[in-house]
């Protein structure tokens, strides 16, 4: 290996800071998927009969389904029998504990990732964030639970919610994304292991940001978590999701389901910074991220907002959606997706207008670099009964380099004559005159590019929660490093 190559390798490694492995004793199920695995998971979680049956039904249905291949992504067949469906740090299988009981090695892991788990260590002046830390198949810690409880907010691991609030789970689980919704949602329903549960009761404004941090650690395991967020009448919550995984040469599957339910006048803001390991510069390794995220505005004037910055995962297949049932409800989707090297992303949103005077906004900014392929796929549907619906969509793509691809597939279906809808999209590269202008003003080519890319993404960055904006910027810079020139 020449010095140059060694240096390049070193640089490539530095690009993904979250790529380390935590050395910890884990209990991991042998690879394979059958009814006994599902029973085993359900048993570990001490689940009620109905939930086990729900899983088994989902599994039965999943076996009749075909893996979808309509997204514009390309990957070798996944062997679902070669994946382990449960892996947890030892001693954590007995359910939640206090922070003092958490393995110090795990605490160090989250420290390294910059996730604050020790409540008392939050710096004065910094806004408090409650964190649910999900490590492979289980939640290992949830902070600020008692403080939140005082406000009436439930924020806990999904498995804990099944024990503590079974009636809420039974009422809402699978009502937005049914177990039979699609191939990966069905798989998730059969084998999901943990996730976060959030319940904001009527009239409550959640006193702090809630966040879940997903970490895949064990090799050859899939992560299948489920998040359920319910905001009752007039409730408000801002929720953040982060995710990382070690660097490995094998691909790992992540098939999550997120369900959001907003009742009258409720507001759920769901923000994601997706930083799964994207694979190396030759497309080796990385996470397959096949995720179903959907929110229902069930009440009048309910509002659901998806905000996401995505730099990670080898393959992304994800369409956070809003079903606007309530009159005057609002759906929003703000997304920045960056792909480089050999990443593939087929992502977008769906806005289904059913209630009267519903409104939706889509702003999607895609940046493709290297040899990556990125597609925006979106659906705006105005049903016949959706009087007075409004939609505005803006989907822009920026190409960096001549070996990448950027594709746009917007579906617009309108069945009501009072609808007003505008969709605009553009695809281009950075203008030479823009680059030159910035360089003339003294920015290096790389700084100029990142400045222009930032400007390109401004509409989305403006709506990111403060806590995420800095992180998002840093990630963007990292993932575009070396993409210029």
């Amino acid at each position: 290996m020449s010095d140059n190559e060694a240096l390049q390798n070193e640089l490539n490694k530095h690009e993904y800071a979250a790529g380390f492995v935590t050395d910890i004793e884990q209990e991991t199920l042998a690879p394979g998927l059958d009814v006994s695995v599902i029973r085993h998971i359900s048993n570990i979680k001490r689940e009620p009969e109905w939930l086990l049956n729900w899983r088994l039904q989902a599994f039965e249905h999943w076996q009749t389904m075909i893996e979808p291949h309509w997204p514009k992504v390309d990957y070798p067949a996944i062997d679902y029998q070669a994946i382990s469906y449960y892996s947890a740090p030892k001693d954590n299988s007995d359910g939640p504990k206090t922070l003092a009981d958490v393995d110090p090695e795990l605490l160090r892991t989250y420290e390294k990732l910059g996730i604050p788990l020790r409540e008392q260590e939050m710096l004065a002046g910094v806004k408090e964030i409650a964190v649910d830390a999900v490590f492979d198949s289980v939640s290992v810690a949830t902070t600020f639970k008692s403080k939140l409880k005082k406000a009436g907010v439930i924020f806990c691991p999904f498995s804990e919610a099944v024990q503590e609030y079974p009636e809420l789970i039974q009422q809402y689980l699978g009502t937005v994304v049914p177990a039979s919704d699609n191939f990966y949602a069905a798989l998730n329903a059969a084998v999901f292991t943990d996730g976060s549960f959030v319940f904001i009761p009527k009239g409550v404004r959640c006193p702090m940001e809630l966040s879940t941090y997903f970490r895949i650690n064990a090799a050859n395991t899939g992560q299948f978590e489920r998040t359920l967020i319910i905001a009752e009448e007039g409730a408000t919550v801002s929720y953040l999701e982060g995710c990382t995984a070690p660097m490995r040469d094998e691909n790992q599957l992540h098939a999550a389901v997120v369900e959001l339910i907003a009742l009258d006048d409720a507001y759920i803001k769901y923000s994601t910074v997706q930083n799964w390991y994207p694979g190396d510069e030759n497309g080796v390794g990385g996470i397959y991220n096949f995720v179903t995220k959907r929110g229902e505005c069930r009440g009048k004037r309910a509002r659901i907002s998806w905000t996401q910055v995505e730099t990670g995962s080898a393959i992304t297949w994800k369409y956070p959606s809003c079903v606007l049932l309530g009159d005057e409800s609002v759906g929003e989707f703000y997304s920045v997706a960056v792909t480089s090297h050999c990443q593939q992303a087929d992502t977008g949103t769906k806005m289904i207008h059913i209630g009267k005077n519903t409104r939706s906004t889509i702003i999607s900014k895609g940046i493709s670099a290297g040899r990556s392929q990125q597609s925006y796929r979106g659906l705006v549907r105005i049903e016949a009964q959706a009087e007075g619906a409004r939609n505005h969509s803006q989907c822009d793509s920026l190409l960096l380099g001549d070996r990448c691809g950027a594709h746009t597939f917007p579906y617009i279906e309108v069945k009501n004559p009072t609808a007003i809808l505008e969709h605009e999209a553009s695809t281009s590269r950075i203008g030479e005159d823009q680059l030159f202008y910035c360089q003339q003003r003294g920015l290096s080519e790389e700084d100029a590019t990142s400045t222009i890319v930032n400007g390109f993404c401004k509409d989305v960055f403006d709506v990111l929660p403060m806590e995420f904006a800095v992180e998002a910027n840093r990630l963007m810079e990292l993932s575009l490093e070396g993409a210029v020139g």
Partner: protein
Amino acid sequence: MVDTMQTWRDAAMATFRAVGLPHDRQEAWKYTDVSAIHQRMGADWRKENAPAAAPFLPEFYPKIDGLDAYTIIFFQGRIHVLGLALPAGVDLVPWSTMDQTTACEDLPKVQPDAPLFHAFDALNAGLMDDGVCLRVAAGVLLDKPLYILHLHDDTAHSHVRHRVHLGESSKASIIHHDVALTGEHARLRTSHYHCYLETASTLDHTRVQEFAANDWHFGRLHVEQQQASHFDAHAAELGGEKIRMDICVQLQQASAYCAVHGLFLLHDAQHVDHHIHINHYAPDCSSRQVYRSVLADHSHGVFNGKVHVHRHASGTDAEQHSDNLLLSKNAEIDTKPELEIDHDNVTCSHGATVGQLNADHLFYLRSRGLSEAMSRDILVFAFADALLAVLPDRHIRRYIESIAFNKIPHGTDLLGLLAK
């Protein structure tokens, strides 16, 4: 070994059977359901037609005031009136008058690998009634448009297959006009154009469609363009029950330009679906797709326009516009302007709108004393007319306008108001 026409047809029908009818689980047929074809078209729609009966009387022919063109007439897909004195260098021969060997060589091939290919194109080849082979020699400029009138009635299905070849720096303008008398029987119509544009040639292709209220139509326009050639397509979809057009433009050499325009004026339960696929293979080509639809009653419009910029197509400039007005609670529009881009040096954009009329405009007209209903009609008309204004032939424009007016409640009042 030279193919005879029958083996040519048999091969096409074999392809038709092998491909199978499109179904709604195919992406390109998501919004257009043809499963009722057997029920609607009767048992014989896959069979060759018997020789055509005598055509209907000339008083039912469409009258396009002022049109000065070389006219040829087809009836039920077969050449009926030819007898043209075309300028030197312009060669127009119906397949039915050629010897079989030549016809088999020159007929547009069935290309299962071509974008947007489907079974009905193979069916068109297999059951073809007739069509023409038009060749314009290098440097020849056709002085008047070629007006190809296709007359149909409900006695038979009809299938036409045309070929157009423009030599270097030549120029031609084609007006394809379908008129069908509505009768008791629903009929299947298919059409195919294969156009080849040599370097720096120019082709205008205008298609005015007035099929019978119960006709189905599957049409295909396949265009291959060489360097700096210029292609303009216009379509006015006025009649028919279920209409599907597939337009494929291959920009094979540098600096070619194409523009595909479409206007849907639909009512009752009409269904019109245009799929467009423009491939940019070479540098510095431009393409435009400009579509507008006005949908009344239970009508359903579908626009699916794709621009695919391939690896070597630097300097591509592509635009797509789809603007739509729904006039009724039961009308539906599905629009999907797609971009697939594999080169970074491009300027591509698309826009789609579905919406009501501009409130400021409406107010302005009403403040001048027009009723609200009439003001709306004027604005609807103005919306549609933006596409008619770019038609190359003004007589055709006036003709379509008069039909369009008849579809609007205050149409006759409007005619007086807007006539120029």
